[in-house]
Symmetry: C2
Subunit: 401 residues, 2 copies
């Protein structure tokens, strides 16, 4: 029934095009309790994480002259006599970190790692465990689904892919209608970010199982949209040479996509509660800026607003609470009554300028009488553990009024 000779197996492997590419995990023994990273592809032993969060990396590159690792900083790897380059890093901050090797000057992914769409390409990433935290792990609870869904956008003239989280009971209670959170990724990422890096489904499954969050639908769009006939505007390097006149617009046609295409389609296709009191929007970094731009422009559509390491307020630039966003904050009593939650989150270990910009926006809003909820994620940087914690704290506050 199955290949039983080496020849037969060789043919199979040859036919599969993988005979030269198979890498078998080898237990070389590290002499301590280091464990393979959960972000490795199956069967790969390295990278391996020590109890103190130092990480061992390996790359077989007998002919390379120089191999570096880019993680929290750059590390030089050392070549062994077997052509395998190795390094052990300093202890890493818990969370999810993109990384790559630099082989003779070329940035390359680690073949032992799963890939994650970030930094505008498919990158290696490593999950550094956070002691005592497992709210984003798959647990023995009822699981919702992540649905890959395509819909046609009149605004862009093209089909768009979204991911939709439906809670565990969605297919059991066929007459129940659910509130909706629209949840945006960050710059250089796409609509896969919250699913793969963010683990949105496990976080929500766990919160719902504990009774901490209401069952809700979560819609994850792409943070880029171009109107029919317009040239796409993408994230560009800060060289200045390619800056569009008037600066970068991180919303573009996305406002029209959300209001004209996406929300009506979601309310038609899924069993949603369609009033503003049951619709929220949040996003991380660039997605946070998109969230403030879109929601503050359409308060008739949204009652809950969340910025995870990304807010309004010109990213630390000039911000006048009385005149910003067409005067939406000018009457704080009216705003506070209308908006049930305005959330601002940031990690304490984020770059100082970014942290300061969120604090500055928060302070300006509070000084203007606008109620906010401010959350600082202890010890985490501008990465997914910060945003997973944001979601864990944010989701329980939704749809409670």
């Amino acid at each position: 029934m199955f290949p039983t000779t080496t020849r037969q197996l060789s043919i199979l492997l040859l036919a599969l095009g993988c005979s030269a590419q198979l890498i078998v995990a080898q237990d070389t023994g590290t002499g301590d309790d280091a464990k393979s990273a959960s972000s490795n592809v199956p069967g790969q032993e390295y990278p391996k994480i020590h109890a103190d969060l130092r990480v061992d990396f390996r790359l077989k590159a007998p002919e390379a002259r120089k191999v570096r690792l880019h993680l929290d900083k750059d590390y030089d790897l050392e070549r062994g006599s077997n052509g395998v380059w190795t390094v052990t890093t300093t202890p890493q901050v818990p969370g999810f970190h993109y990384y790559w090797f630099v082989v003779d000057g070329v940035n390359v992914s680690d073949p032992a790692s799963e890939t994650f769409f970030g930094v505008s390409r498919q990158s290696s990433g490593i999950e550094i465990p956070s002691a005592g935290e497992d709210f984003y792990e798959a647990k023995d609870v009822a699981h919702g689904e992540i649905r890959e869904h395509y819909y046609f956008s009149k605004t862009t003239g093209a089909w768009r892919r979204i991911f939709v989280y439906t809670p565990p009971d969605y297919d059991l209670h066929l007459k129940t209608r659910y509130p909706v959170l629209y949840l945006q990724h960050g710059g250089g990422e796409d609509e896969r970010g919250w699913v793969i890096q963010g683990r949105v489904n496990f976080i929500m499954d766990n919160l719902i199982a504990e009774g901490k969050a209401k069952p809700m639908i979560i819609v994850m769009e792409k943070g880029a949209a171009t109107r029919v006939g317009e040239a796409p505007q993408s994230f560009r390097p800060p060289s200045g040479t390619n800056r569009p006149p008037g600066g970068f617009n991180f919303v573009g046609a996305l406002d029209d996509v959300f209001i004209g295409d996406l929300i009506p389609m979601i309310d038609k296709t899924y069993r949603t509660k369609t009033d503003r009191a049951h619709r929220a929007m949040a996003g991380l970094s660039m997605g946070g800026m998109q969230t403030f731009a879109i929601t503050l422009n359409h308060l008739d559509k949204f009652a809950y607003i969340g910025g995870f390491s990304g807010a309004g307020g010109g990213f630390g630039g000039p911000f006048d609470v009385k005149t910003a966003n067409h005067g939406v904050f000018a009457n704080p009593e009216a705003f506070n009554k209308k908006v049930h939650l305005l959330w601002l989150g940031v990690g304490t270990a984020e770059p100082a300028n970014l942290h300061a910009s969120v604090v500055k926006y928060h302070d300006a809003l509070e000084a203007g009488g606008i109620k906010t909820v401010f959350y600082e994620s202890p010890g985490t940087a501008h990465e997914w553990l910060t945003w997973r914690r944001d979601l864990r704290e944010f989701a329980p506050l939704l749809f409670v009024n």
Copy 2:
């Protein structure tokens, strides 16, 4: 509202960790009608495919000594004065092909390509268009969904991820029940294969829109399972040194997972037709071997069987139609009455030994009086275009009796 100065943008990009990693598509002009591959990440111009299916590849690697491309064969790239290495391949066979660069001896992914889990890791891949064929493209038709679903397997003692295709009308007709096709990936791939490389959803959406296939649910499992307490057995290189006694078993605990865990869960969770006349199983390569092993062992559960470039019959080894699989073929009249379809497919450009093994199995079955449908995909190799065509031809024959 948005960063408007280079400094503000720099902070943002720094915070996103991507300032050094952004690569902007440049229109350097090739002087002909070459087009960027659809498998590139957004904004990347290369690889670029000429009308005659030659492909231009590019890699910036100023310090590398030697850069090769592994595609249908190995190509040496040439270094330009700007540190960018280039090559134009010979015309490629239409279809989906894994590829990688070899930089100073190290196999690396192309940062310009999406990644695809194959060859037991995340690999670059290129979609070479097939003239006049668009049955696997997203069209302006009603789209079904791909659902990422987790369930607990008692056999393995662990949660397993599957992908489930639900047809376009699944959420509209809430009392309709659907037949189910279980569809397996090949060796070195995983449960993502049919979704990402295979484009199962677009193929089915198009077939259903044309009225060529019945709306059905498709379940895609992982082709590896290990019983509680057993060590995982993975795909291994043909060195012979690690061969388990008795040869390789490509089914392992998968039979128990399917019969004991998966099928009961699917029939409980989705609106399925639960009798054998409405259950099919098919798979490609290793998944085809799994399909024959499982279905022939449980004909009380399956009425339709498909092998795409992978069949039973010992992979070209000894096969006695009278005694194989506990004598299931011994009474051909009874078998032909019970099994509504036994499908064998293979590409004409597959490796000769593999092609011959499928033909040999087919001939032995036919000689034994077993009815089969034999399909040859013209001009395609052991890759996804062969298997997409298999599905296009196979699905219309399902659930018609």
